[in-house]
Amino acid sequence: MTAKARQRPRREVRLPFTAEMLPHDEPELLAAYRRAAWETYQRLPMPHRKMEAWRRTDIRGLRGENLRLPRENEFRSLPPVPEALTQPLVDREHGGQILLLPGGHERRMQADLAAQGVIFTDLRTAAAEHPDLLKQVLGKVVPAEDGKFAALAAAFSQNGVFVYVPRGVQVEAPLHSLAWGPGVGLAHIDHIVIWLDEGASLTYVHESASPDEDGQTLHAGLVEILLGNAAHLHFVELQSWGRHVWNFTHERAHLGRDASIEWIFGSLGSRLTKSFTQVRLAEAGSSARVSGFYFADGKQHLDHDTRQDHLAPHTTSDLLYKGALKDYSRSVWRGMIFVSPEAQKTDGYQANRNLMLSDTARADSIPGLEIKANDVRCTHGATIGKVDPEQMFYLRSRGIPAPDAERLIVEGFFDPIMQRIPFEGVRGRFSRAIHEKMG
């Protein structure tokens, strides 16, 4: 050891949640769900670095004991939602929009959707008005057992969305939810439940955002997606939390026969993110395409854990995560394709590509395959590269100044992800993020 004293290891994260803080006066369906989740929460250990999934993500910097849940209507005294975030990203207009706010929510929906039997409402209203539907999904796709933060979100989600699209209904205009989480020292906890019944289709955008502030804020979230036979969901998820937010999510889509999901995942904000994103191809003919975009700078730490479960024959998955890293940022991607013995004729693909824009950034890329069937095609790839100086010279020799040349190369790097995004508004958002992050 040099003169610098060894730092004593910090104790594990302590969170302030107690049974008294569980939401009150809820419909019995929700109340029972929360009681069970609370028990699970107490039983599960706080994540630490000896757990495989948390080996590369140290959360001990989170001073959890200082956090509290937002009070009723607290959003009224916090920075309001920027107008730009309420604008449609994927079409000219929304079919409906829910703003999830600290201590409240706001909802708008087109009347014709309700006439088609589409449900798009907050979780508490759903539990009161549609308990028979909600209970078939709630906690069924992502059980509280999945992890400490999954149980936390299940027990304490103050905000939530329930979407139900009845059998055969094609929803044309996209639905949009925005979790807006301003404030310091708060725990924003939300739960999104989406169920597309047989043959239904929908485009759904869920966005999380907050301003950059000093201090710390927690976000814990659950996303549960259930797709009935031949249902199709286009799911766009954008994370642009402020630089002070510690963000933990568990998300899973469960697919029925011939169902399909196009999942676009953008991760730009937060101080630290640990996300678990999973597709479960539960029945024959189902398919998933997952496209991840991330760009970390400053001291951001983005850890994306993905899993593609092939549980039935003739299922297809295609996952591509691409990320750029700048400054002292860090990313972790850990992927797994699991193929069960009955899932013959599986076609699975996973790839993670990282572009390092500084020598002080770090990326870990860990693909994984666990294949128990013998007639499958599974491939994976993981790369970590730098901007090629010969590319830089070539562009500069044509008169393009070095910063612009580097940005062109980065934009080129992300192009395969952009090609997978059919929404100009989303591509525009990613392009602007590249511009802003590259300065």
Partner: protein, 254 residues
Amino acid sequence: MSELVIRNLHVNVEGKEILKGLNLTLPQGEVHAIMGPNGTGKSTLAYTLMGHPKYEVTEGEVIFKGQNILELSPEERAHLGIFLAFQYPVAIPGVTLANFLRAAINAKRKAINPDDEGISVAEFRKLLMEKMRLLKMDPSFAGRYLNDGFSGGEKKRAEILQMAMLEPEIAILDETDSGLDIDALRIVSEGVNALRGPDLGVLVITHYQRILRYIKPDKVHIMMDGRIVESGGPELAEHLEEHGYDWLRERIAA
């Protein structure tokens, strides 16, 4: 009218001296060829003129428009009107030829006039299609990723397309003929010839005399061991074709 003047240029690559006092003057409006055996420093000269960071100038100067361009960054040299057609063009995956060219044109316009708002999409498109026709390139080329998966001939054509779009005043063609079949060579040469004029000086660096049948040089220089050892008219290239380099080697040795 200006000229590119290279004086006593010495260049090291990874500590080894490759150019050993090279002198050359290229006026705008003329085409000069540099010929020479392999390993004599021809590509080093090309990269040095464009400012590749790997090439270390230890002595000498290169004057164009009253400035020593060796003091300028590659992009500043480009803005001044210097262009290098690469022997090995670099692939930039994810960046289309059209987007790249537009960025390059706009960068130059902005360097000349900081308030310039860039070429309009319509104007750019028209210009690009016109130049692509000149080089017999399929319009779909514009949407392909720059040099990514291009054949050897396509890469060289794309280099000349860039030259046509960027309208340089001094163009250095580094072994543009290498790897081209006769048809591609003819197309590329016709492209270069179409760009010839009083405002363009061209330096054709080549190993073979073949390309000079299509691009007629005003002057031919022979380079050996890091220097220009002989200069003359077009007939010098023909002489080389017949007699090789041995007579020069013997003369230098003597």
